[in-house]
């Protein structure tokens, strides 16, 4: 085992920045989506739930491949973006964020969905009879009561983004400081036969993943006891 090079550290920082960005965005987007999934009686609910769950079974390379086509210069999104004068997303940090968000979506939405469902009708009806409107009920009752689910969603979303590889390979490439994340760096080291460096980084990821899961299990019962 050897120490981390500056390039390794850069990959480390980039990975953390990516995971944090993705987690925050996914919580902002996933909470209303999960709330809708838990509350709606719409016939398309099951369809949307299946689409959200798709990345669980889809190989990340497939997801990355279609994103590459869609966001690339010949894709629908890509063409629209170039017409609007925007930079194309493939092989940029923004592209990684979009890809990772789709990839980690079910890991954030499903714990939130379950947590919202577990609240039941009672507290929300009570809040409605205490003059709380729909948004107020979501903000002051549903979210705080679903807090353990929010923590689980954040930890899973973060850890899952840190560990991704296939999507990065397809849509991110290997640009230092832009898209070269830890998993990519490990792959590079192994390709170059530099097993010692690969080992160091792998161990870091292993320790991180374990710490994340441990933190989640330690945090959950305490939240439940408090609330």
């Amino acid at each position: 085992m050897v120490g981390l090079s500056s390039e390794d550290l850069e990959a480390f920082g980039l990975t953390l920045r990516l995971a944090a960005t993705v987690t925050v965005l996914l919580l902002l987007l996933g909470a209303p989506l999960a709330w809708w999934l838990a509350r709606t009686r719409s016939p398309v609910q099951r369809l949307v739930a299946a689409v959200v769950a798709l990345p669980l079974v889809l190989p990340p390379t497939v997801l990355g491949f279609y994103l590459l086509l869609l966001l690339g210069p010949h894709g629908v999104v890509g063409q629209t973006m170039s017409r609007l004068g925007l930079t194309l997303l493939p092989f940029t940090f923004g592209g990684l964020v979009v890809g990772s968000m789709l990839y980690s979506l079910p890991f954030v939405v499903q714990p939130l969905h379950n947590a919202f469902e577990a609240i039941g009708e009672g507290p929300l009806e009570a809040a409605a009879c205490l003059r709380a409107g729909p948004f107020d009920r979501f903000w002051s009752v549903a979210l705080p009561m679903a807090l353990p689910g929010v923590v689980t969603a954040a930890v899973l979303g973060f850890a899952h983004t840190v560990g991704e590889f296939g999507v990065v390979l397809m849509i991110g490439g290997d640009i230092p400081g832009q898209t070269r994340v830890l998993s990519m760096r490990i792959y590079d080291h192994v390709e170059a036969g530099d097993y010692a460096q690969a080992h160091t980084l792998s161990l870091c990821l292993l320790a991180f993943s374990f710490a994340a899961l441990l933190a989640m299990t330690l945090l959950r019962p305490r939240l439940r006891a408090n609330g």
């Binding site: 009672g122 507290p123 009570a126 205490l130 003059r131 009561m145 609330g227």
Partner: protein, 361 residues
């Protein structure tokens, strides 16, 4: 003083095999009991009033406001109805302490100055519970928190769904006494679900009788529960509700004297303040009729009455006799044979014997 407008409902709803038709006019003051056997649709009716159940079709008005009019596509959601709703198993906010629960509606109502938060907290014995988490509260404590939480949201109508049904003896009596106190000073109307007639007798001014999803009778409490045409399922409710003033209390014998229009009733009470208004229920089956005043009887109460009418009971062996005791209507449930033997015809003077022990402790 002009009687404030109350609630007028003409709502129908399918609820599984039960089809509910809630046609009722609830007064704008006092306590109205929604009374009926289990499965009569009481909770469904209360939820339609609250707006928690959108499946009802029809018209619902409260005061000058239309809360629902299906034909005109009007439906006011619960958070704009200004109601205080306390479910049978109230949902407290588990992420807040007791004070946080109480203040939820209070803050949203703009902390109205005409509501005395501190007094309500004391009145319902919640002072020491304020910093507690709600997860550790007993059933009675949860009910009290839910009731005060609802009251603090400054509702114009209070809806209670069997708040006593899950409580045991002491907790039940405690909350019933607090609700009696609330009734005495509450400025807004309250609708109260119950299937226990003794609760209704102590709390309600007005009653709506429900059976199999339909309103079968409604009106002022005493006049309604002494009707002779109540359906068989509600016959247990038959009996007079007497309201009077305590005129004496004998601490040695633990008896209070309650003076009402029809005379004086002695009832067992450990304590009673002279001058207090008190209610008691005389169940129809606890009344014995005699043609003459009895002297060698253990029954402490004998009221001079006149027969108003004799009607059918739920069994051919029995009759219900409606009696006028100086302006107060009493009901006696006696055998058909006795009714024949006493030759009870309208206008006939009789004595109604009531054991004091039947009038509660």
């Amino acid at each position: 003083m002009e009687e404030p407008k109350g609630l007028v409902a003409a709502l129908t709803r399918k609820h599984g095999p039960l089809s509910i038709a809630f046609d009722a006019a609830l007064p704008g003051r006092g306590v109205t009991a929604l009374f009926g056997p289990s499965g009569a649709g009481k909770t469904s009716c209360l939820r339609m009033i609250a707006g928690l159940d959108r499946a009802g079709v029809g018209v619902l008005r409260f005061g000058d406001q239309t809360w629902q009019d299906s034909r005109r596509r009007i439906f006011t959601p619960p958070h704009r109805r200004r109601i205080g709703y306390v479910a049978q198993a109230p949902s407290l906010f588990e992420h807040l302490d007791v004070a946080g629960n109480l203040d939820f509606g209070w803050r949203r109502a703009g902390q109205p100055s005409h509501l005395n938060r501190e007094e309500l907290i004391d009145q319902f014995g919640l002072r020491l519970l304020l910093p507690r988490r709600v997860g550790a509260l007993s059933g009675g404590e949860r009910q009290r928190v839910a009731i005060v939480r609802a009251l603090l949201s400054d509702p114009r109508l209070l809806l209670l769904d069997e708040p006593l049904s899950a409580l045991d003896g002491a907790a039940r009596e405690d909350l019933l006494a607090r609700l009696e106190g609330l009734h005495a000073r509450l400025a807004i109307p309250m609708t109260y679900i119950s299937h226990a007639i003794d609760e209704v007798a102590r709390l309600a001014d007005h009653i709506v009788l429900l059976d199999a999803g339909r309103v079968v009778a409604q009106g002022p409490l005493s006049a309604t529960v002494t009707r002779l045409d109540l359906p068989a399922a509600l016959i247990e409710a038959a009996g007079a509700v007497i309201e009077g003033v305590v005129t004496a209390h004998d601490p040695a014998d633990h008896l209070a004297a309650l003076t009402f229009e029809g005379g004086v009733l002695l009832l067992p009470r450990d304590s009673a303040k002279v001058g207090d208004r008190l209610r008691c229920r005389i169940a129809a089956r606890d009344v014995v009729l005699t043609l003459e005043r009895q002297t060698g009887s253990s029954a402490l109460n004998q009221l001079a009455c006149r027969v108003i009418a004799v009607g059918e009971a739920d069994h051919p062996s029995q009759r219900l006799v409606q009696l006028d005791a100086g302006g107060t209507v009493l009901l006696a449930r006696i055998t058909s044979r006795s009714a024949r033997a006493l030759d009870l015809t309208p206008g006939k003077p009789v004595w109604a014997q009531v054991k004091a022990t039947a009038l509660g402790a």
